[in-house]
């Protein structure tokens, strides 16, 4: 997949929309016997390889599955601790799958804010007058493109380094954002956008799926509101104020939401 992910960052640096669409990462599954010749350590609620890189298993890879069952953070699918399980010789031989760890939502939020600051520092350290922030950041595995609007919203796209046409993709995403998010009267500015429908969108040969911002917030129904009011789950004052105007049903005289 040529486009890896899309991030939309508001002017305070908070992430308001995120979309991942990359191909599955390189993973390696091998059967091991006791004792394990890799050194594993616990880091950030994940079990990572600290030492013992070989055969496609690199340092920094996380344990993704044991014996075919996906692990849940540092616990196996049965609820046992992974490190304890792998320390017990009775459980061997065991088949473990390693791969690059996927980012959690918290990490994505932190990375978006980090990029927001780096963008500003890039402009401050400029040796030339009138420089913008970081527009293209290049590495050997991906290229990050950033477009900042006049209102401070940043659209960030991670793509293959050889992929062309990202500039027009960024402008198109801006167009979609202004059509579906900004023109939605129930959308609060700078707040997270909830992507409700999957709709393919052709942009110069690349399909940007799912896109974006289709349904208004009140069409989701009260299920999206998690507030407890008076010991029952019902709309709190904030969410009630986002409801569409109500009308009286002509036949049964009950209040109707549109």
């Amino acid at each position: 997949m040529a486009i890896f992910s899309v991030y939309v960052v508001n002017k305070a640096g908070g992430l308001i929309y995120q979309l991942d669409s990359y191909a599955p990462r390189a993973e390696a599954e091998k059967t091991f016997s006791y004792p394990l010749d890799l050194l594993l350590k616990l880091h950030d609620e994940r079990v990572l390889v600290a030492f013992g890189q070989r055969d496609g298993i690199r340092v920094g890879h996380a344990v993704l599955a044991i014996n075919g069952m996906d692990v849940n953070g540092k616990y196996t699918a049965d609820g046992k601790e992974v490190l304890e399980y792998l320390g017990n010789p009775a459980n061997y031989p065991v088949s473990i799958r390693f791969g690059r760890p996927r980012l959690t939502s918290n990490e994505k939020l932190m990375l978006a804010s980090m990029f927001h600051s780096l963008f500003a520092i890039g402009s401050q350290l400029s040796p030339e007058q009138g420089s913008s922030g970081i527009e293209v950041l290049e590495t050997d595995t991906f290229k990050l493109h950033c477009f900042q609007t006049l209102t401070g919203i940043k659209f960030v796209v991670l793509a293959d380094p050889r992929q062309a046409g990202i500039d027009s993709l960024l402008r198109k995403i801006y167009e979609i954002y202004s059509d579906f998010a900004l023109k939605n009267p129930f959308y609060s500015l700078e707040m997270p956008i909830s992507p409700m429908q999957v709709k393919g969108h052709q942009v110069g040969g690349d399909t940007l799926e799912p896109a974006l911002f289709i349904q208004p917030s009140w069409a989701l129904g009260p299920s999206w509101c998690r507030c407890f009011v008076g010991r029952r789950r019902q709309l709190c004052w904030l969410h009630r104020s986002l409801q569409p105007p109500r009308r009286l049903c002509s036949s049964c005289s009950a209040w109707q939401w549109s």
């Binding site: 690199r58 920094g60 990490e107 990375l111 401050q124 040796p127 970081i134 590495t139 991906f142």
Partner: protein, 145 residues
């Protein structure tokens, strides 16, 4: 096409060398702080890139560009970082930065028993050789443009 400035950092963040050729705008902060800010930014970009990357990286962060300048980055396994700010028209110059490290820094500073490592390079020979090397680069034009 021109070269604006060049920074050389070691693994602890000490700025070993800084020289500028065509710089139109200063950062507005003292040089010491600017070096720390630059090093901090590069450190953060490196960790950002290693987290974000969808595949395992080999060379890591290479360069970034803004609307006015392009920053090229090269890091050795020992933590020496060579950073060059150039114009936008300049393509990948990883080999140039590698040459600055291997043929200038290693030959003239590391192999010099009188040059203490871990602090700013005082060697006048290094400064003049670096200056003449950068001025001889094909993308360096004497006219600031």
């Amino acid at each position: 096409m021109t070269v604006h400035n060049l920074y050389l950092f070691d693994r602890n963040g000490v700025c070993l060398h800084y020289s500028e050729w065509h710089r139109k705008k200063q950062a507005g902060i003292p040089k010491e702080e600017e070096f720390k800010l630059m090093y901090g930014m590069l450190f953060s970009i490196r960790s950002f890139v290693s987290k974000m990357s969808p595949l395992d990286m080999k060379d890591g962060f290479l360069s970034f560009q803004t609307s006015r300048y392009k920053l090229h980055y090269y890091e050795t396994p020992t933590g020496i970082k060579v950073v060059m700010n150039t114009d936008l028209g300049v393509g990948p110059i990883r080999d140039v930065l590698h040459h600055i490290y291997s043929s200038l820094y290693v030959e003239l500073v590391v192999k010099n028993p009188l040059c203490p490592l871990g602090q700013t390079v005082q060697s006048e020979l290094f400064r003049s050789r670096l200056d003449s090397y950068v001025r001889s680069l094909p993308f360096f034009s004497a006219r600031a443009g």
